[in-house]
């Protein structure tokens, strides 16, 4: 940390998608010979920033400096010529070609115009030995573990670039020994003076490997600090919310008596997720707090039958129900707004009206078709209730803004008159106005007696509408906070919990 020569510097970066400011005047500096961790929840702007640093996106404002000189990157290939290389979580190599071909693809040494395989193999062996890797370089890449593939990808990126190395979630699919091996390689590169930008959501790995950390939240930089001045709780607090007082209204939320139990999950389990018990009452919002990868989405998917459970019981209003797939969940009166709106939520080419009535239609079955008048009436009613801004309900839903699309999905579930609603990150990536609208809607639905299960990375948001908060960590429900216990410190500490210990 004595060498603080900045290699890659970003100043005042602004990136706008539609009406959404993905990055708002963000500064970032990667120094030579340091590992700089980049942290933030989904939607915080991590990947957008990386894409700008590597040239995949062009910023609306701000500038990039390499060794103090301003540069303009057209695309990642152009970035590579400046010495900026990237290794992604999913290895971007050719699994069906040999290790050496992967290392030298696009710049193979030739002999008489033909690829000189002997030389490639010798060069590849030599190169990989510098990473402590002794493998048969003629074998297909796919024969090796992800860890080896990662190291090959790193070797290729460093070979091509050699100044800045971006590691985007490199450890997500590695076991502990493989992680250590990868870290040794990264430490070696650091010692050689490379600037390494490390993105992960494993906090313990950040503390183990990184020298400094930059935390993003909602497209803004929260802080850049040396890690030896921080502890896990500080980092979690910066990632999840303002460190000002949380906006919890215990009187409004816990004052009245709870209704009867609407849904109860007993010992629900699936491989890779600890069994959990949870009961959600009428007129209650159970909020879920936890970092990305803590198992929160997996719980929601399990409840809705997207992934079938290995064991456990579900009761609705005291009656046992079997939920092996989403169709059965819908039949039981469940609704689910998934995390990835575009992939799992909207039918882009179908109209707003069809998107609103589709779940009800699926529930009714194909024979009981809602006629056009029913559809227009339903779509009109819920569009008005949720203030969906669409010029016309016959227009394709893909033309709406993200916030309005989210409201359309919410309307779809309200149309089936649900008894239990699961919302996974309902406010991610949507503009401020729609954000407030959705939070208001959650509060209103609770007052109307609905049972809700809401996952959000926005801690202050969860606190604002939840009667109860379940904290998840390491694929397990580790704490449940009720009434007055709902406080910022308690949640942050529960989330941080064992994050400082070694991962199991």
């Amino acid at each position: 940390m004595t060498d603080t020569k900045p290699v890659l510097e970003a100043r005042g970066i602004v990136k706008i998608f539609g009406q959404h400011r993905a990055l708002d005047t963000v500064d970032f500096t990667a120094n030579a010979g340091e590992v700089h961790a980049l942290l933030g929840e989904n939607g915080a702007g991590k990947s957008t920033l990386i894409k700008i640093l590597t040239g995949a996106y062009q910023p609306e404002a701000g500038e990039l400096l390499l060794d103090g000189q301003p540069i303009h990157l057209r695309d990642p290939l152009h970035g590579q010529t400046y010495g900026i290389g990237t290794v992604y979580q999913e290895v971007n190599l050719l699994p069906n070609r040999s290790v050496s071909e992967n290392l030298f693809l696009g710049r193979q040494p030739t002999r008489f115009g033909m690829v000189d395989h002997k030389r490639i193999d010798a060069l590849a062996r030599d190169l990989l030995s510098r990473y402590g890797l002794d493998v048969d370089v003629r074998a297909e890449l796919s024969e090796y573990s992800v860890a080896v593939q990662q190291i090959v990808a790193i070797a290729r990126a460093v070979e091509l670039s050699g100044k800045v190395l971006v590691l985007d979630e490199p450890t997500a699919s590695l076991d502990r020994n493989e992680v250590q091996r990868l870290f040794d390689v990264v430490r070696g590169l650091k010692a050689k003076g490379l600037a390494i930008i490390f993105i992960t959501h494993f906090l313990d790995q950040v503390f183990e490997l990184a020298d400094r950390v930059t935390i993003l939240r909602n497209g803004r930089k929260v802080a850049t600090q040396a890690l030896d001045t921080l502890n896990t709780t500080d980092v979690v607090r910066m990632m999840l919310g303002k460190d000002v007082a949380f906006d919890h209204h215990p009187t409004a939320l816990t004052g009245g008596p709870k209704g009867a139990v609407r849904v109860a999950f007993k010992g629900l389990s699936r491989k890779g997720l600890s069994p959990f018990d949870l009961a959600v009452h009428e007129g209650e919002v159970v909020g879920v707090a936890g970092l990305l990868g803590s198992g929160r989405t997996e719980v929601a998917r399990l409840m809705f039958g997207v992934d079938p459970s290995d064991g456990g019981q579900i009761t609705v209003d005291g009656q046992p129900v079997s939920i092996r797939n989403p169709a059965q969940a819908v039949a039981a009166g469940f609704g689910f707004c998934p995390e990835d709106r575009k992939l799992d939520g909207i039918f882009g080419d179908l109209s707003v009206r069809e998107n609103i009535i589709i779940a009800l239609q699926a529930k009714l079955g194909w024979l009981k078709a809602l006629n056009r008048d029913d559809q227009v009436e339903l779509a009109g009613r819920y569009a008005e209730a949720l203030d969906i801004r669409a010029a016309d309900h016959d227009m394709p839903v893909k033309l709406l803004s993200g916030g309005n699309q989210q409201k359309v999905i919410l309307a779809r579930w309200l149309a089936i008159d649900p008894s239990f609603l699961i919302l996974d990150e309902p406010t991610r990536g949507i503009d401020v106005g729609a954000h407030a609208e959705i939070v208001r809607t959650i509060n209103r639905l609770r007052e109307e007696g609905l049972a809700l299960f809401v996952i959000s990375s926005e801690l202050d948001e969860v606190v604002a509408y939840s009667n109860r908060i379940v904290v998840m960590r390491d694929r397990e429900m580790v704490a449940e906070l009720d009434g007055d216990a709902i406080a910022s410190d308690a949640i942050v500490q529960a989330i941080a919990g064992t994050a400082t210990e070694a991962r199991p």
């Binding site: 809705f304 989403p326 039918f347 699926a362 669409a390 227009m395």
Partner: protein, 346 residues
């Protein structure tokens, strides 16, 4: 209703409160293309539009276009729904051969014609179900899954006919291929009835919407509680059923089952008809009548080239040229160009 209409982004087309079906119909590129092809045929062969009444039925080149186009139109009806789910069925030509082989073999062995017809239709349903199972339960890509039956199906048909062309003189089967009803050839009557029935079923029930939803986003369909697997099974089975009908017509027409040549390459014509009809291979919105229209465009070109005295080799070249024109007219590029023309909004 007083909902705010504050939007936002251009919606592309001016929102019509209620579409005017007739005006819309005649400005579709498919209709214009069909009219153009027919006019060219008429210019090449002045008697093209002449229809005569003889022996209790209509005769003429137009009737011939309808009659010859019927098998592909029937295939296209089933294929439209498969393509709407983002799939494709390459096996329909082979299923035609199987269906013809089953019917012909049964009647020559003394089975009564209605039972032979039912057996042939049943064979088609089974073939379709097989495709559906491969696509749904085994999650094989449709193009590969149906390729299996495309190759194996012709072998099956040859096994059924024991390698020969099974000829028959059963009046019922022959009537399906060459008879007439109300002056119109039976294939035309069958295709028209099937088109109307299929359109009514998918549009009067929610089936059409659910199929489109699966085609647009299968994952979202699952999350919305649709039983996507069941829908896919239904759609592939129906495509097999349509192919069996087409197979019966072709067999009845030549009074025999030719396992090698019945329905050969017709799956490609059927896919083409669907695409010309405006259903995207990416799935989603579909129109059965438009796909039938696409089949008629293809047949009009075939017939036109035949009667105008050009050698049949021209057929393939001319056909591809016309198809390119139609596809260019349908492309997003020309949609953008044309929208700008009539002083459009913005």
């Amino acid at each position: 209703m007083t909902r705010p209409t504050v939007d936002l982004r251009p919606t592309g087309q001016p929102p019509l409160p209620r579409p005017r079906p007739l005006a819309q119909f005649f400005t579709r590129p498919q209709v214009i293309a069909l009219a153009a092809v027919l006019l060219v045929n008429w210019a090449l062969f002045p008697g093209f539009f002449t229809i005569t009444w003889q022996d209790g039925r209509f005769f003429g080149s137009l009737i011939d276009v309808l009659n010859r186009g019927a098998p592909v139109a029937i295939l296209a009806i089933g294929m439209t729904m498969v393509i709407a789910t983002k799939g494709v069925d390459l096996s329909v030509g082979a299923v035609m051969a199987i269906s013809g082989a089953v019917a012909a073999t049964l009647v020559t062995n003394g089975v009564s014609a209605p039972i032979a017809v039912l057996a042939a239709l049943g064979a088609g349903l089974l073939c379709g179900l097989w495709n559906g199972i491969l696509v749904t339960l085994l999650d094989i890509q449709p193009i590969i899954a149906t390729l299996v039956l495309m190759v194996a199906g012709r072998g099956l048909a040859q096994l059924i006919t024991e390698g020969t062309i099974v000829t028959f003189s059963d009046p019922v089967l022959i009537f399906i291929g060459t008879g007439s009803f109300l002056g119109l050839p039976m294939p035309v009557v069958i295709a028209a009835l099937l088109m109307i029935a299929a359109t009514l079923i998918v549009r009067r029930t929610a089936l059409g919407l659910l199929i489109e939803a699966v085609g647009v986003n299968r994952s979202a369909a699952r999350f919305a509680g649709l039983r996507a697997g069941t829908l896919l099974l239904i759609v592939y089975t129906f495509a097999g059923f349509c192919a069996a009908i087409a197979g019966l017509i072709v067999a009845g027409d030549i009074r025999g089952a030719d396992a090698n040549n019945a329905g050969l390459w017709l799956e490609l014509d059927a896919i083409l008809a669907v695409v010309i009809g405006g259903t995207s291979l990416m799935g989603g919105r579909f129109s059965i009548p438009m796909a039938v229209l696409g089949a008629l465009i293809i047949q009009s070109m075939n017939t036109g080239i035949l009667i105008s005295g050009f050698s049949p080799e021209f057929n393939l070249v001319v056909k591809s040229a016309v198809i390119i024109v139609i596809l260019v007219l349908q492309s997003p590029l020309s949609a953008r160009l044309f929208r700008r023309l009539p002083g459009a909004q913005k």
